[in-house]
């Protein structure tokens, strides 16, 4: 087991008669996927270091339904949404942060019409806020001599126009930040969205993640940074396909910052 982290559930907050500053929506990947769990832990390390009073829902959290919606199953999506909204509204949640751009998009945009009205932010935006407010200080030594390129997750960037927060945060590592040819609005998808993560791709001449990793490798990076657990998996697999796993690593912005504190 790595370093100790402190996580409290909403239930515990209520038992103490308190409200957290913010709810950390962990998401299914962040809860169960071995790689994404490390991202959740890294983000909590940041929250602990900044002294943020945050809560998680724990076993009361359920899939946002995003992936069901993109697969076309609007029923399942709305069932999930309404169950989650009942829990969130029951706890009078106002502000939510998440490491998953898909949860971010769904909670922010699609729960709105179903009775769920929250201020939802992506973890890169929250980290930036903590830095700007002076609550989080970053040493910025570990990655000083490294080259980092940032892959824009579709549902963070193009879908919700969050381009600057992850880049501003990455600058705090003091690494050399290089852009891929296609970035921000024209960034290529990693290939996981629209429920593709859970199925084999259709017949073609290449996998999308291999193409996107090629974009990233052209910048000669030491590290490919992402802000999405699914992008992380796709880019990591892409690196393997290019046989570059010895020289290039894929890390979430939260991990890079957690290691730079």
């Amino acid at each position: 087991m790595s370093e100790e982290i402190k996580v409290k559930t909403m239930e515990e907050f209520i038992a103490q008669g308190k409200q957290p500053e913010i709810l950390f929506w962990v998401g299914s990947a962040g809860s169960y996927d071995d790689r994404a769990k490390k991202i959740s832990r890294a983000f909590v390390k940041i929250l602990n270091s900044a002294g943020v009073e945050f809560a998680v829902l724990g076993s009361e959290e359920s899939c946002t339904g995003d992936v069901a919606k993109r697969a076309g199953n609007e029923f399942l999506f709305q069932m999930q949404a309404m169950m989650n909204i009942e829990v969130l509204n029951g706890y009078e949640i106002k502000r939510i942060v998440t490491c998953d751009p898909h949860s971010f998009n769904t909670l922010k945009n699609e729960y709105l019409g179903l009775g769920g009205n929250y201020d939802v932010i992506h973890h890169t935006q929250y980290i930036k806020e903590l830095i700007d407010n002076g609550r989080l200080s970053i040493e910025g030594k570990v990655y000083k001599e490294k080259r980092i390129t940032f892959h824009d997750p579709c549902y963070l960037g193009r879908a919700n126009s969050v381009f600057d927060a992850p880049r501003d945060v990455l600058k705090k590592t003091n690494a050399d930040i290089v852009e891929m040819k296609r970035h921000k609005k024209t960034a290529l998808c990693c290939g996981a969205g629209g429920a593709q993560m859970f199925k084999e791709p259709e017949k073609g001449d290449m996998d999308i993640n291999v193409l996107r990793t090629k974009d990233a490798l052209e910048t000669n990076p030491n590290i490919i940074a992402t802000g999405c657990p699914y992008c992380n998996t796709m880019m990591t697999d892409g690196i393997k396909a290019h046989e570059k796993e010895d020289s290039v690593t894929v890390l979430d912005v939260a991990e890079l910052i957690a290691n730079s504190i």
Binding site: M1, I5, V7, V26, S28, S31, Y32, K37, S40, R41, V44, S59, E61, S62, C63, G65, V67, A68, K69, R70, A71, G72, N73, E74, F75, Q78, M79, Q80, M82, N105, N109, E110, G113, L114, C154, R158, A159, N160, S161, K185, T186, L188, C189, G191, G193, G194, A195, F198, K199, E200, P201, E202, K203, G204, D205, M206, D207, I208, L211, R212
Partner: protein
């Protein structure tokens, strides 16, 4: 007999505009076959989008070469139409260069039309070379074979010929002015056609008048014909780009609509006081079909999108699925939707205003399951479109039909969905273990 040309001209004008109005009516009828959708919100932003994206061409210049040349052709088209106004008035009234009394302003106008016409010719030639010699990838995709390719070239030929006729007409006019021919009073500046005029030096006045009149007539008749070609062509975008950018999506691209009919049913399911065995009330309408299997299931903005598409293929060239050799092409989704909508429209025409089922539909007969499941919903196509078309929304509606009406999702997706139903995650893990990551 003196008024014969005026009469012939007026008849041609009325016929040209009459046919056009008939086509517009058909177009509007077909678009209204789509479902209603509320697009009444935030009008100021909608006007702004139209001004920026359609009028201002902001998204065209994302690709600078094509964008710049497109602006030349577009500005040329809009400005040279001022000259068409003079031509129409001359035609009806039997005058010649009725705006000539504007003097130096007139010279400036005619001079700038000529420069623009020349620039349009250059741009059109480059466009043709890109399509036919360089063969840019996005112009030679499978969906471009046959009519779409011919259509693209036809538009370029027509534009070339129209500009050529305009300059020929001016050159002959200029030469006649030099020769002091009656009616051809000195008016206008001819920065481009003055170089064509020397070719006419040894031609008699009567033959020159014949050339000038022929070019004049062919030019205006060509414009009227082109106007009526629009309905059958991808070139319809010159008109529909404006309403289409007005009605384009305002919400963040990631925000997909929530199906209202589903909301009602889910609310009923989750309502503990609802009686699951209650017989439906007598006036309950038939349950709504979920998603889309044919064009009538789409909303009218999506159908307007289909008619607006000018098949430039920017969407397809940005699509990750298409770039990696999958069958999906967002442009083909739009072209298929238009083709099917036209087929439905013709069916209605042939059956006295009623659609008679023809055993065909958009899903399956035009768009395959394979195309629909290859989409990553990344919005690259939506972002790439210079006129705010949303191919993704059509893909989503058809996925909804496949999953909710036909349970026809790929097996792996069905597994994923039953995991969500059973344990609240796309993987088969126990919901009680959701917090285990803290202590690992």
């Amino acid at each position: 007999m003196e008024y014969l040309p005026n009469i012939l001209f007026t008849i041609a004008l009325i016929m040209g505009i009459g046919f056009f109005v008939r086509n517009v009516k058909k177009l509007s009828r077909n678009i209204k076959l789509g479902k209603d959708v509320d697009v009444s919100n935030d009008k100021p932003q909608r006007w702004k989008n139209m001004a920026k994206i359609a009028l201002g061409q902001t998204k065209m210049v994302v690709r600078p070469i094509a964008g710049l040349m497109h602006i030349i052709v577009y500005v040329g088209f809009v400005i040279i139409n001022l000259e068409v106004l003079e031509i129409i008035l001359d035609g009806i009234l039997g005058t010649h260069r009725v705006f000539a009394p504007l003097g130096s302003l007139y010279n400036l106008l005619i001079g700038s039309f000529e420069v623009l016409a020349f620039m349009v010719i250059v741009a059109v030639v480059i466009f043709w070379v890109r399509r036919n010699i360089i063969k840019l990838k996005r112009f030679i995709k499978p969906e471009m074979e046959g009519w779409p390719k011919k259509d693209g070239n036809m538009i370029l030929y027509i534009e070339f010929v129209l500009m050529f006729l305009f300059l020929t007409m001016n050159a002959a006019d200029f030469q006649l002015q030099q020769m002091g021919a009656a009616y051809y009073t000195k008016a206008g500046a001819f920065p481009v056609s003055q170089f064509i005029a020397p070719l006419f030096e040894n031609i008699s006045i009567s033959n020159l008048i014949l050339i000038e009149r022929s070019a004049w007539w062919l030019h205006i008749l060509g414009i009227l014909a082109f106007l009526n070609y629009l309905y059958y062509s991808k070139h319809l975008h010159i008109l529909l780009a404006f309403p289409n950018t007005y009605y384009g999506k305002l919400a963040p691209q990631g925000k997909f609509n929530n199906v209202e009919a589903v909301t009602n049913e889910v609310k009923l399911m989750m309502d503990p006081s609802a009686d699951p065995f209650a017989a439906p009330a007598e006036d309950t309408p038939d349950p709504e079909k979920f998603g889309a299997s044919d064009v009538m299931d789409l909303n009218w903005v999506q159908l307007l999108n289909a008619y607006t598409c000018t098949e430039c293929g920017r969407c397809t060239s940005e699509c990750p699925a298409n770039q990696t050799g999958k069958k999906l092409s967002p442009r083909k989704i739009m072209m298929d939707t238009r083709d099917r909508l036209e087929e439905v429209g013709k069916n209605i025409d042939a059956n006295k205003g009623v659609f008679v089922p023809d055993g065909k539909q958009l899903l399956g007969d035009y768009i395959s399951h394979e195309e629909l499941w290859a989409c990553t919903t990344c919005n690259a196509c939506v972002e790439a479109c210079p006129v705010s078309i949303d191919p993704l929304s059509i893909i989503m509606e058809m996925r909804r039909f496949l999953v909710m009406e036909q349970s026809a999702a790929p097996t792996e997706l069905n597994n994923m969905m039953s995991n969500i139903e059973n344990n609240g995650a796309p993987w088969p893990y126990n919901q009680m273990d959701r917090l285990n990551w803290v202590n690992e």
